[in-house]
Each structure stands twice: as C-alpha cells, then as structure tokens.
C-alpha cells in the first residue's frame, strides 16, 4: 500500500468524522480540556510548592559550626577546606567574630548589649563560625556528626547549629506535595483516557456500518483503526492547547503584569504546554486504540 495516498485518505476520513460527529467531538474536547486543565493546575501548583519548599530547604540546609576562640586562623581554614571538599557541600562561608556581632546586632537587635560588653572589657562574646551550605537537606545531620568530633569547636553546649526540627518536616511536605501532585495527574490522566475511550467507542458505534463494510471489502485492521487513532490525537491535542491557553491566561491574569503567577518561569510554562500537548496526543491515541478494538474483534 502506498503510504502517501493512505495517509491522505486516513486524514480526510478522520477530519470528516470529527466534523460529522462534531457534537461528540466538542463534548470530548470540553471534558478532556477540563481534565487536562486539572492536571496542568496540579503540575503548576506542585511546581510552585516545590519551589517554595526548595527555598526553605536550601535555607535549612545550612550547618553553622562555631569555632573556639583560641583556634588559629590556619586551622580554621584547614577545617573549612577539609569539610568543604565533600561532594555534599555546595559552598562554605566564614563568619569572623566582628561579622557575627554585626549579624546579631542587625537581626536580633543586640547591638547595645554587645557594645556594652565590649566597653566593659569583656570583649566580643560571639564566636567565629563556618557556614556549610549543603546540597541535600538529608546530609546536614551526617556532617553535623562528623564536625562535632573536631577539637576546634566552641566548647559551649551548642558548638553547631542547624534547623534539626525543620528538616524532617520539610522532607514530609515535599513528599506529600509530590505524591499528591502525582496522584492528581494520574487520576486526571486516567479520567481523560476513559473519556476518550468512551467517546471513540461511541463514534465507532455510530460508524459501525462503515467499519463493517471496510472489513468486508478487505480493509486491514490498521486501516480501520488509523482514522480513529488520528481523530483521538486531534481531539487530545486540541484539548491540550485549549487547556494550555486557559492556564496561561489565568497565570498572566493573576501575575498582575509581572509575568505568570506563582513565580512560574517562561521555560517551565513552555515545558508544561509541551507536556500537556504530548499527554493529550498520547491519551487520544491510546484511548482511540482501546475504543475501536471491540469493533475490530470479528
């Protein structure tokens, strides 16, 4: 069989079918648009939530190591370089006693107290510290255990500091957000698949005589199936484009002229649209394949 005329014929039949059964086609597009819209919203919300959680995570992934006052500068640098060379450490920053005093003054409002102590001759009570920014929040407690064995640390009750209680909570939030988003996308995808299958099954029922004749005159199963599959792909892609337009419209609307809402970037928006189009096309083809199978049974 020559593929070009076959493709032309299949495309023509698919478009004719959509136009002829436009009631079913429009209903399918609307329902699939709604389901894909649900999936799109879930993806965007999970992405935004993920962004927030990752910001929180990066802030919580800092291990502050307080140095003892007597430690030589070279030893501090050595400790910083030794631990900083670990793959789990993204970067390190050193904070000397003056910087610590400034930081405490500005963020905790302790300027007067610190000045008073310095004037009384007691000196700056705040220790120097090394801040380890880790790539993964789970690595913080491990590094904490390692660093605590060093004799260079402050001898006080808290030689290191990190948000120990925040970490498991953040891990739980991230897991729940990803699981929830995945479930929503999965359920919505399954619903879209069922809708397409039912609509193609209905279309196949409406066109059962045509299918019967095609088979009687010797059309192959694939030739019978292709127009339906193409029809499903067209309906799926149109639904995905409509859902994408709505998502982008709402995103820009809530963005207040500052781009898309929820901090969604152009790259992610484009990827989401592409993913929806691919998902719509895939759902359409799979749904049609399944939907028309019964008609080809004999």
């Amino acid at each position: 069989m020559n593929p070009i005329p076959a493709l032309k014929f299949v495309s023509r039949v698919a478009i004719q079918n959509i136009l002829r059964n436009r009631g079913i086609a429009v209903a399918s597009v609307l329902t699939i648009t709604l389901t894909l819209l649900g999936a799109g919203v879930a993806v965007v919300v999970v992405h935004a939530l993920d962004g927030v959680l990752h910001t929180e995570e990066s802030q919580a992934s800092v291990l502050k190591v307080f140095m003892a006052d007597h430690v030589a500068f070279a030893s501090e640098v050595n400790l910083e370089q030794n631990l900083g060379s670990s793959a789990s450490v993204a970067r390190t920053t050193f904070e000397n006693k003056d910087q610590a005093a400034q930081q405490a003054g500005s963020s905790l409002g302790l300027t007067q107290a610190i000045n008073l102590l310095e004037r009384s001759g007691a000196g700056n009570p705040l220790p120097a510290s090394i801040n380890f920014q880790l790539r993964n929040i789970k690595a913080v407690s491990q590094l904490n255990r390692e660093v605590r064995t060093s004799a260079l640390l402050d001898s006080g009750p808290h030689p290191t500091d990190y948000n120990a209680d925040v970490i498991p909570r953040l891990e739980r939030y991230i897991f729940v957000a990803q699981l929830g988003g995945g479930l929503v996308v999965g359920v919505v995808g399954a619903v879209a698949l069922v809708i397409i299958t039912i609509s193609v099954r209905t279309a196949a029922y409406v066109r059962r005589r045509e299918i019967e004749i095609m088979k009687l005159v010797g059309a192959t199963d694939w030739f019978v199936r292709w127009p339906f599959v193409l029809e499903g792909v067209i309906v799926g892609v149109i639904s995905a484009l409509v859902a994408s337009l709505i998502l982008l419209g709402v995103g820009f609307g809530f963005g207040g002229g500052q781009g898309l809402a929820l901090g969604v970037g152009a790259r992610f928006a484009l990827l989401t649209v592409l993913a929806l189009v691919v998902a719509g096309g895939a759902l359409g083809s799979v749904g049609s394949f399944v939907g028309v199978r019964r008609s080809l049974a004999t």
Binding site: M1, N2, I4, P5, A6, K8, F9, R20, R209, E210, E212, I213, M214, K215, L216, V217, G218, A219, T220, D221, F223, V224, T298
Partner: protein, 259 residues
Amino acid sequence: MSISTSPPAPVVMTGARSGDLARSEPPIIVFEKVTKIYANGQAAIRDASFTVRPRDFVFVVGASGAGKSTVIRLLIREERATEGHVLVEGQDLARLKHRHLPRLRRKMGIVFQDFKLLPSLTVEQNVAFAIQVTDPGRPHLKEKVGEALYIVGLEDKLNAYPTELSGGEQQRVAIARALVHRPRIFLADEPTGNLDPDAGWGIVQLLQQINHRGATVVMATHNREVVDLCRRRVLAIEDGRIVRDEAEGAYLRDGDAIL
C-alpha cells in the same frame, strides 16, 4: 408473481462458462464435515460437506434459520467452524491468521440483503470506498468505479445518494462495490430478500452475468421462483444439514411441501 424470464443481457465475456474446464480444476470452495455451533449452543451447520468448482453458480436454499447465512459467514471467516474444515482456494480458513483475513476478503465480492451502503456517500463514492480502504493509491480509480457501475447498469447514477435509489438499484450499487476488486468468488446472502420480484430477478440476472464473466457465485436464498427459473446447482439445507445437492435443481424436491 410476474417476472421477466428473458436471458441475461449480453456482456463482454472475460471468463469461461462453468463446464468441462471447471470440472478439471481443483475446487475453489471445500466444506469438509463442517459443524458450526454458536456460543448459545445452537448448531447452525451439522457435518456439512460439499465442494464448489471454479465458475460454478450455486444456490444455497432452505427455510429461514436453516443455516444458509452461516455458510456465507463461514466462507468470509466471519465465523469459524466448530469442527471440520472450510477451504477457499486451498486455504484452510481455520489456519488463516487474522492479519491475512483482508487478503481473503479482497478475493471475494460480498452482498447482503440489506445492501450495506453508506447513506452519506454518493453511488460513486460508495463504490470507490472499497478501493480507497484497501488500496488508496490505486491508479485510474474513477475509471474502475465507472466500469463497475456500467456493468450493473448504473453509470448514469454516479452522483445519486442511496436514499434516492430503489431497492434494486441499491443492491446493484452493492454489487458494483463488490465487483471493483474483480473477485474470483462472489457471495450473495439473500440479495433479493428486500426486493420486489422484478428487481429480484434483475439482481439474479446480474449475478448470472458476473458468473458468465468467470466468477464463482454462491447465493443463499429462499426465493423459490428465481431458483426454479435458473435451474442451476442447488444445495438444500434443512436444520443445518445438507439434504440435497443437485446440478440443475429446483427449490423443492418433487413432493416436498412448500416451506
């Protein structure tokens, strides 16, 4: 009933008539101890054996529910034999893979009582449909469709829709559609069932012309008059069994009650 009994209109002969030549060739259709039992337990065909030679014209007769249509359905492999073998051109249909079914059906022309035309397509489009769905790139599509419609005498109805045609004309369109693949075997399941006697006789004449052109014709019917007028081979089925096989038979055996 008043039907014209004039012989078939003259046509261009492209095949030999049934006769001595056919006798020397292997059968084109073989039923070998075939039994068909449907899922509901009903036995439609019981232990049926017969052969059909190339270019034969065979009437399969019997009352409604006797099993005539099942014979046709077995031949196009719409149904599979429960027991026994159905062979078409030497191919055992039980062993035929599903993907090779289209090839079998392209060798056959099939018409039914209900015409099976697509109402949204014109006469020309209905006939062209058979080519478009099997070989969409085939050259000279229009000419082939025109030729098929000329054979059935509807060359002036190209743009008519099925609903604008009489029953006889609709059946002729179905026959033209079945002819475009130039089938070696032509199967007709009650093709006159929905037609008045004159239109029915016209269809039988057309099938005889197709047979004259070289195709083997198997026609399932309970139209007694056309069978009696044609005096062709008759296979009679009763309750799924072949009870009679006559070379120039009538619908009923002498002494049989009218069904």
